[in-house]
């Protein structure tokens, strides 16, 4: 109860910081030191939310995009663990996960860096989870793993969207991996996705054993399958009809929805 209220407080704090940054960034787009720090946590556990970062690269006047600056990690294997002051706590505060809407506003470089930040955070949380299982203690705030998973999933969707858009513009293809509609031996037609091989298909013995056509002796099976499917459909419709007529008998004023 206390944890959720404190988390709620942190969340609102983060949203407030976000608004502050939006305003400030609108002012200093031309200045180089507009840094985007961790309103969304999991970014830098080293620094406090509003602290300026260690080095800022100059942004050219041509591109007014704000770059995400990260510190070079010098903690080595200690990055698999939390900050030492969080060891032994019952719950560690963390903010909200990234939403797809927020991620769409970021540049590709930012998303790339964020991916690695989230990756490291997830590694740390998984290590902590395993250690807590070993020590038979409860892991502090396990919802962090779910938050990181959702952020990563949304990041991946945003990147995929951008890739498909670029591919459509450049080549006119929607999907990256080529494929074709093929019929397998059971009579089903499906989308076969091509796989990369080192040798052409006519030298590939295993591939040649695969048959992408339906032999004649499968036709009776297909017919039986069709009959079964149609019988099932007919049964379903007659059942629906029977139910409706029974209801109509009991409740004559009932209005039957057109389904």
């Amino acid at each position: 109860m206390a944890a959720s209220s404190s988390a709620g407080r942190v969340l609102t704090l983060c949203k407030q910081f976000q608004n502050v940054f939006r305003i400030s960034s609108a002012i200093n787009t031309k200045h180089c030191t507009a840094t985007l720090t961790r309103c969304q946590p999991h970014l830098y556990r080293e620094t406090s939310p509003l602290a300026a970062l260690s080095w800022c690269s100059p942004v050219s006047a041509v591109s007014q995009c704000r770059a995400l600056h990260t510190t070079v990690s010098r903690r080595g294997l200690n990055e698999f663990f939390d900050l030492p002051e969080n060891w032994g706590e019952n719950n560690v505060k963390s903010g909200a996960p990234w939403t797809a809407k927020q991620l769409r506003t970021k540049s590709n470089e930012d998303l790339h860096k964020l991916w690695y930040v989230l990756l490291k955070e997830k590694n740390m949380l998984l290590s902590l989870e395993q250690e807590s299982r070993r020590q038979r203690l409860q892991m502090p705030s396990p919802e962090r793993i779910r938050k990181v998973n959702r952020s990563m999933f949304r990041l991946e969707t945003v990147v995929k969207e951008r890739e498909t858009a670029l591919r459509l513009l450049q080549t006119g293809q929607e999907k990256g991996r080529p494929g074709a509609w093929r019929r397998n031996i059971f009579g089903y037609s499906y989308w076969y996705r091509y796989k990369e091989y080192a040798i052409p298909w006519y030298m590939n013995k295993r591939y040649k054993q695969k048959r992408f056509f339906t032999p004649k002796f499968v036709q009776p099976h297909i017919r039986l399958r069709l009959e079964k499917h149609m019988r099932g459909k007919a049964r379903e419709t007659s059942l629906q009809r029977g139910n409706r007529s029974k209801l109509k008998e009991k409740f004559p004023q009932m209005k039957v929805s057109a389904s």
């Binding site: 206390a2 209220s5 080595g76 294997l77 060891w87 290590s127 989870e129 250690e131 020590q135 990369e196």
Partner: protein
């Protein structure tokens, strides 16, 4: 909702190694069960990672100098059964023993130290703790009768 990576391009000698570009693999640092030499770190990795992948991962993402990586696959047991007598499979995982280069050592730290958990004044935690203590005090039996239940005596 897992993130799925499409097929990696076929690797032939001289191709660029793309597997550590925005990888979807997560390493878990674990405490070794058996005593390990001081420069060895033990990880649980996904089954698809190779020794080279692990080395590149640690060197590029974590800046950790890696010497040698040895891996083995741990079989997850299939022996336990549920209430329906169906076998329950624990997932398999790959264990990697990474030896650090440049004479570095690593010892697994104590991540759950004993901390003095006194809540600060006027906070929810303090009020909760007081309430719990009061409840416990109420549940205790009469100390004047030696904490014995009412079943005994008059």
């Amino acid at each position: 909702m897992p993130v799925t990576r499409l097929l990696y391009p076929l690797y032939q000698l001289g191709n660029p190694q793309l597997r550590i570009f925005r990888p979807n693999w997560f390493l878990t640092l674990v405490r070794p069960g058996k005593e390990q030499p001081p420069d060895t770190v033990q990880f649980r990795t996904p089954m698809e990672m190779t020794k080279y992948d692990i080395k590149n991962y640690l060197e590029n993402i974590y800046n950790v100098p890696v010497g040698v990586v040895r891996t083995r696959i741990q079989f997850g047991s299939n022996k336990k059964r549920n209430y329906r007598n169906q076998k329950i499979k624990q997932p398999d995982y790959k264990v990697a023993y990474v030896q650090l280069a440049q004479g570095q050592t690593f010892s697994f730290p104590d991540v759950f130290p004993e901390k003095d958990k006194t809540p600060e004044e006027g906070s929810m935690e303090e009020m909760e703790q007081k309430y719990m203590e009061d409840e416990k005090q109420r549940q205790k039996l009469d100390p004047r009768r030696g904490g014995v239940t009412d079943w005994f005596g008059f």
